[in-house]
């Protein structure tokens, strides 16, 4: 009796343990029994890969591809723990521009794509995009660029009309060649429509202005923290904060639930919009707002916001096959098709200058020629240097602007506190 019971208990424990261990190990791309190579690709939001994957599988019968999609924040946290644990990461992982500096520090956990011939591809991308994906003076290729954000400004035509402002996108763009002019338009708007907000959040205005400068929080030369003495940071902060002080912003957390509600209620008139934000605006504002939003050029010339890279973690069993797939997915031909399907802007001149792309209009946004607007913005952008600790410092200034918007602090107090916190974070 004792034997059987104890034996059963042990075997149950053993089975339970084995099960959990297997569960813990699950996810590492094993191979199917039928001799096919199984690749997994981990992305967030919509990379537009579903149809492309089907096509790739058809032309490569020995490859089976699994796409895993999670929310953006979770995606990067999960990736970090998977790299730390040495297992569980997909064979190809997407990394967003804002996060890649952090992962660049741990490049040992990734395959150097240069070993597989990635350097030959360099000329495909805009130079700044290529550089963001590399490290070690360009000798270590961490990721191949997918899309980019570019920058435009979206505005609501009906609210502009009610405020006596022009509604034509060329004329609207001409209203604000600079951010100072943008603030003047805000004042005109608020005088006419005091109950509506001119812009959703000061945080995004700030980010857009700062991303148009060559250096932000960190020095290009030696990656040291200069956020406390870089005038550009203070200028951008003061400009954006003045909108908050005058209560011209909705004081909304960008892309939050409240932001969606405010979109639906048409309670703000403008928002900074990188190419990928069009889909978010459309989803938030809903079908009834079709044709009410439009896209104009952003103040201060072009800019970039967002965009991602495909990298291959070292733990993969199939670095060569993973590289081949990443190379194919990021090639201009595929980027063009993704743009048409999802609106994610190509990061390769051959793709974003292609007539097929530049001729693209977006019906929802009053048939705005988005291909042309974002393409132009991409051409004129000055890439901003992102330091290794950029992602640690950025939220500190976002929080500070939020404190100004909600009236908790004056601009100068908020800025001083932010600089102090940023110094600590960059230590």
């Amino acid at each position: 009796m004792s034997r059987t019971l104890a034996g059963r208990a042990t075997s149950i424990t053993a089975v339970a343990l084995a099960a959990t261990l297997v569960a813990a190990c699950g996810g590492g791309g094993g191979d199917a029994g039928d001799g096919k190579i199984k690749l997994s690709i981990g992305v967030f939001s919509d990379f537009g890969y579903t149809n492309l994957i089907k096509e790739y599988q058809a032309s490569h019968p020995n490859v089976e591809i699994e796409q895993r999609t999670v929310k953006m924040e979770q995606h990067h946290t999960q990736l970090a723990t998977q790299l730390a644990g040495g297992r569980g990461a997909a064979d190809i992982v997407a990394i967003e521009e804002g996060n890649i500096t952090q992962f660049r520090q741990s490049k040992d956990k990734f395959v150097n794509l240069a070993d597989h011939g990635a350097k030959e591809l360099e000329s495909q991308w805009a130079a700044w995009k290529w550089n963001q994906g590399t490290t070690d003076g360009g000798n270590f290729v961490l990721g191949l660029g997918t899309d980019m954000g570019s920058l435009a400004l979206c505005y609501r035509r009906d609210l502009f009309e009610a405020a006596g402002l022009p509604t034509d996108r060329e004329q609207v763009g001409a209203l604000w060649p600079t951010w100072e002019k943008y603030l003047e338009v805000a004042d005109t708007f608020t005088r006419k429509l005091p109950d509506k907000k001119f812009v959703d959040t000061a945080q995004n205005v700030y980010k857009a202005i700062l991303d148009q400068t060559e250096e932000g929080y960190f020095a290009k030369a030696d990656d040291s923290f200069i956020g406390d003495r870089n005038d550009k940071v203070k200028q951008a902060f003061t400009l954006a904060a003045s909108l908050g002080e005058k209560k011209q912003t909705g004081a909304l957390a960008p892309f939050s639930q409240d932001w969606n509600v405010a979109l639906k209620q048409a309670s703000f008139a403008t928002t900074t919009c990188p190419a990928w934000a069009l889909a978010l605006i459309k989803a938030g504002a809903g079908d009834e707002a079709s044709g009410k939003w439009d896209v104009a050029a952003a103040p201060g010339g072009g800019g970039n916001w967002g965009g991602s890279f495909l990298a291959v973690p070292k733990q993969t069993k199939h670095p060569e096959e993973a590289y081949e797939l990443a190379k194919w997915l990021t090639a201009p031909e595929q980027q063009k098709r993704i743009f048409k399907e999802t609106g994610n802007l190509p990061s390769e001149p051959a793709a974003y200058k292609d007539p097929e792309v530049t001729a693209t209009t977006n019906e929802y946004f009053n048939s705005a020629p988005v291909g042309q607007i974002f393409g132009n913005s991409a051409e004129s952008l000055k890439p901003t240097y992102r330091g290794t600790k950029d992602s640690k410092v950025t939220p500190v200034f976002g929080n500070a602007l939020s404190r100004v918007e909600t009236g908790k602090q004056s601009t100068s107090d908020a800025f001083d506190q932010a600089v102090q916190e940023a110094r600590d974070a960059a230590k």
């Binding site: 042990t10 723990t81 520090q105 939020s402």
Partner: protein, 327 residues
């Protein structure tokens, strides 16, 4: 697990033992061993699993906390107690501790009183008893993410229902996320909503074992329902109250999901409001470990949190027991 004791027996059996005893002992000894060790063998799986998934991570965390440890790249060198000394002078840590205690008090005290009241109501002969009893548990079985989503809507600043209701009685809209007290109230309401029914059911189970004749004699003596409740019901279920206090303490000090999902910045900033006004200890741990990749510091927070919970639980226990013995 079974092999070891048997081998030991075999070893002893070969020694100089009287032949008569040896003849009898095979079955006899086995039976005695059975009685002696089987209980341990049966509970062993729990301890094995606890050892692997509880104790080992606990000790490993302690080890990590003594190092500068980067989440992805791992060990960057032994630093002794440096993480702990830094923590003690870190004002964000004290802020998070204060928020945690405030949220704990704001949610646990009303929750347990409401649960007592609810249990007392359920203990009466209601129609459709099973329905009501299952009903109070409903908030607890709904996913916390869904609850947080709904409450975030209710407490919306511009279009939230709570502000609309306040508007009816002439109170200005409240920015529930911006102000410290307002955010604490909103988050506590979420916790109270989720856990009151659960605790009520536990109290109800205890109340039903209170002898009915005590109530009857009290009623005969002319005691009011209120008096009966406080003088008979509550003292009789004291051990259960003690249990819920301890469990709520442990849960309350580890509060994470509700405030995290209430934060519109989400885990992208992870600061619990623009001035850390509702960042709890676990949120701070998460920010340090998983957004800033400082696993060493994060582990130190985890250990301090563990010690804080231990202290609070012991204090709770002694206070609650003293009250009980006074009764």
């Amino acid at each position: 697990m079974t092999v070891a004791p048997e081998r030991a027996t075999a070893g002893r059996g070969s020694g100089p033992v009287p032949p008569s005893a040896q003849r009898l002992s095979w079955r006899d000894k086995l039976g005695r061993l059975d009685a002696k060790y089987t209980p341990y063998v049966i509970i062993a799986p729990f301890f094995v699993v606890f050892g692997i998934f509880g104790l080992y991570p606990l000790l490993y965390t302690a080890w990590v906390s003594l190092h500068e440890w980067q989440l992805i790249d791992g060990d960057q060198g032994f630093t002794g107690l440096a993480n702990y000394t830094e923590l003690l002078s870190d004002k964000n840590f004290w802020n998070a501790l204060g928020n945690t205690v405030s949220l704990f008090l704001l949610s646990t005290i009303p929750q347990l009183f409401a649960a007592l009241g609810l249990a007392a109501l359920l203990d009466r002969g209601l129609r459709g008893r099973a329905f009501w009893r299952a009903g109070v548990l409903l908030p607890n079985v709904i996913s916390v993410a869904a609850v947080a989503l709904v409450f975030a809507q209710l407490f919306g600043r511009d279009f939230g229902i709570v502000n609309a209701l306040l508007g009816f009685v002439g109170i200005d809209p409240v920015d529930w996320r911006a102000q410290t007290w307002a955010s604490h109230l909103a988050i506590s309401s979420m916790v109270v909503w989720r856990w009151t029914g659960y605790n009520a059911l536990i109290y109800l189970a205890a109340m039903q074992s209170v002898p009915k004749d005590m109530y009857e004699s009290a009623m005969l003596d002319g005691a009011s329902r209120w008096r009966v409740f406080w003088s008979i019901t509550v003292p009789s279920i004291r051990p259960t109250i003690l249990f819920t206090v301890i469990v709520s303490t442990i849960g309350g000090m580890q509060l994470f999901v509700e405030p995290q999902l209430f934060d519109p910045g989400g885990t992208a900033t992870g600061t619990g409001g623009d001035d850390r006004q509702f960042q709890t200890l676990v949120m701070y741990l998460y920010e340090k470990g998983f957004r800033l990749f400082d696993a060493g510091y994060s582990s130190a927070i985890a250990w301090v949190l563990f010690l804080v919970i231990l202290v609070v639980a012991v204090v709770n226990f002694t206070v609650a027991r003293r009250i009980a013995s006074k009764g």
